[in-house]
Symmetry: C2
């Protein structure tokens, strides 16, 4: 059951007419208001008026993260600051943050996208939700907050961290749904086991997780350990935050809010469009944003599309769970490898926990990969021989499935730092520059 029948179940032809109209308006808007886009369009010799069909999008230049950094803080903002009512920013761990300014209408649209997302995940008016996303500059906290307020929920804004308190409140208040990153959900599940709190017996029955890529294996693991349905919210600061694409009850691909975002898949090297169903880099053009519209923004996320009417009734384009990021791709023994593939293979192994770190180094022109992964209690204690056996089992499994050799190091339980937000899964020791 959709939150907004009209758009979420719109017939394709009608949807595309709507998209084209909004697409043209957006092009006119950015050309008029943002010198950066006008210059780029002029350089390509294309005027907004030349765009007559959705397919013409391929003629337009792309936007990359560095364009946002170069125009920090507000060079890509299309409205005067007194029309900006909110500014979020990405954490900016590397250099300048990415700023996201919003008009009042932008917030309204974002809230609506999040309401669809949460409703689709099974949240209903009157439900109590515990929002354990970091609140503040990060779009997660307030984004989910606004969506839940729109639905008419009881919001418990815990923020991230203080894991024992999170668990106590889940028990004492009895929230039906939990919002956080998937890695923090695992942290909560693990800490609850240590506290002898059986999360499976609590009222919480839905989790809406996002802000980092996670495999179906991790989803199954969380669902099993917490006794909940683990649903996804996909988004990025550059496109207003979470609420760009979302799971429905089928949990079979994420629906893209197509009335807000025009989505493409391109070859990450040639940047040429790929046929429907092929795996490539995800590109988004915003259709309704006013303060900071994005034209053909390269997400770096790798996925593929399916155009089908879902069992939930929604007609929005579906995308697979993010397979990896184009800039996270490693070349190991000449094979293209995404961290998510390693994660999936680790989850096949009984003797380990889903807590791991990939350490990447360089050997000649190729990457070299070491996998540190935590053993389940008892495995290390069983002695060196058992440890070596399990390490061999894992490396054989990875070699068998992917044809690459990786070094496995089995660690004692609880030795990898737990995440309260986005997990750090890859440590890159390759020389810079």
């Amino acid at each position: 059951m959709p939150w907004d029948d009209e758009f979420e179940c719109m017939p394709l032809e009608k949807l595309q007419r709507f998209q084209l109209k909004k697409f043209k308006e957006t092009l006119d808007w950015v050309y008029e208001k943002i010198p950066f886009y006008r210059k780029k369009f002029d350089e390509k010799g294309i005027k907004p008026q030349a765009v007559k069909a959705l397919e013409d999008i391929h003629k337009l230049p792309m936007t990359i993260k560095n364009d946002l950094r170069d125009n920090y803080p507000f060079g890509l903002c299309a409205v005067p600051m007194n029309q900006v009512v909110r500014i979020h920013a990405s954490s900016g761990t590397t250099g300048k943050p990415i700023t996201g300014p919003y008009t009042k209408e932008d917030l309204e649209q974002w809230t609506e996208c999040m309401a669809r997302n949460l409703f689709s995940a099974g949240i209903r008016p009157g439900d109590m939700i515990q929002n354990a996303y970091g609140h503040g500059l990060f779009t997660g906290g307030l984004g989910f907050h606004q969506g839940a307020v729109r639905l008419g929920c009881t919001v418990v804004p815990t923020g991230s961290g203080m894991t024992e308190r999170q668990i106590t409140l889940l028990k004492d208040f009895g929230a039906k749904a939990l919002f956080c990153t998937p890695s923090y959900a695992l942290t909560i599940a693990e800490r609850a086991e240590e506290m002898k709190v059986d999360i499976r017996s609590l009222p919480v029955s839905i989790g809406v997780f996002g802000a980092e890529p996670w495999t179906i294996g991790i989803r199954d693991e969380i669902e099993h350990r917490m006794g909940i349905k683990a649903m996804e919210a996909y988004g990025l600061t550059e496109l207003s935050g979470p609420g760009v694409a979302f799971d429905c009850e089928a949990q079979d691909g994420l629906h893209i809010n197509e009335d807000h975002f025009l989505a493409e898949i391109v070859d990450p090297v040639t940047l040429e469009p790929l046929p429907l169903g092929e795996k490539g880099e995800l590109i988004f053009t915003s259709l309704q944003r006013r303060a900071m519209p994005m034209i053909r923004y390269r997400t770096k996320d790798i996925t593929r599309f399916r155009r089908e009417t879902c069992v939930c009734g929604r007609t929005f384009l579906k995308m697979d769970k993010i397979f990896g990021r184009s800039d996270d791709m490693l070349i190991i023994s000449g094979v293209n490898v995404f961290p998510s593939q390693i994660e999936a293979l680790l989850l096949d192994i009984q003797e380990v926990e889903p807590q791991y770190v990939l350490v990447v180094g360089k050997k000649g022109h190729l990457d070299h990969l070491a996998v540190k992964v935590e053993a389940k209690p008892g495995v290390i204690e069983a002695g060196e021989q058992k440890k070596a056996e399990v390490e061999k089992k894992i490396s054989n499994h990875i070699r068998g499935m992917m044809g690459i050799g990786v070094k496995i190091e089995l660690l004692a339980p609880k030795t990898i730092t737990r995440s309260e937000g986005k997990a750090m899964r890859v440590i890159d020791q390759r020389p810079k520059g």
Copy 2:
């Protein structure tokens, strides 16, 4: 210039008629909906209908923090959970947290109180504000957020912590106002000096600070170091959060939102009402809250009232800055001492920074006080004799002003942990129980 002329400048007689009407409604409401209050009223043999005048409030029983703990989590909630749209909670460092449930209307009223507060502090529609309060369960973050949204500001929700980023954003975004605790403002000022960022030259010109008691000396210190007006927001989780009382441009006492809160001053020992102008414990009764009304809540805060029309035009009752908390009062050599008095005296001393910790122990029946305070750069380096001189100067000043002997320990600069939220100024080493 008030935000809401009608109420903020209402003639006393009309205000009191309004208060009496809301007071009676609140009494009927709690008696009908909350067994805790009904029982307490019945025990005192008082029915809501017996209350005919505001003065009759003295016949009613008081509420204390332990009543909230005993009724954790929702025993004092007057509405079913599906009418609760938000739940905040106090940090609960000692035992169970205090929970604050809100109906939609409660949030609306709270937001209005905060809008008055911010407007009174000089914030105007279109101003950019940087909200460095912790967001989440704590009422500070979202409380200030809502008030600023209501005014039509550009909100930058930084949350607390990441001090260097706070300073970078003050510089890059150019917010006009900063919201945080006074102790965090000092931390920001200090870090900016280290970063060679001159906050005085930045656009930020107003700070709205609260969530912990602070002296006029600290206010002056912040104003001087940041080149801003430092305004106060007073409130507590039990009464919806910040926005209960606030500074106006006169900075001469805090205006209490009297259409929302009925205020009393009582003797903290006998609990008898004190005449206007006498110093005692502040008691509040909420007049418009629906989910968790409070009848005669003992704040433990010590202050005094003034009834005068302020130069700003507001007629609301004024209270002095909080002088201390009744449960923070120390008995040193038979003299009643509040930490704020020590703070004020430390601020008179040139050679020290406003960074201190009071360590309280017991000697027989009396408290024993040691004051650790940071020296300004150069003082410690000047040698033992200079150090002893300054320590003596401070202890003489305190003995001269208060008649008590305290042990002073001068510390090297930056040795006391900086606060990102509420400061921990008193370390109590007295035996418990």
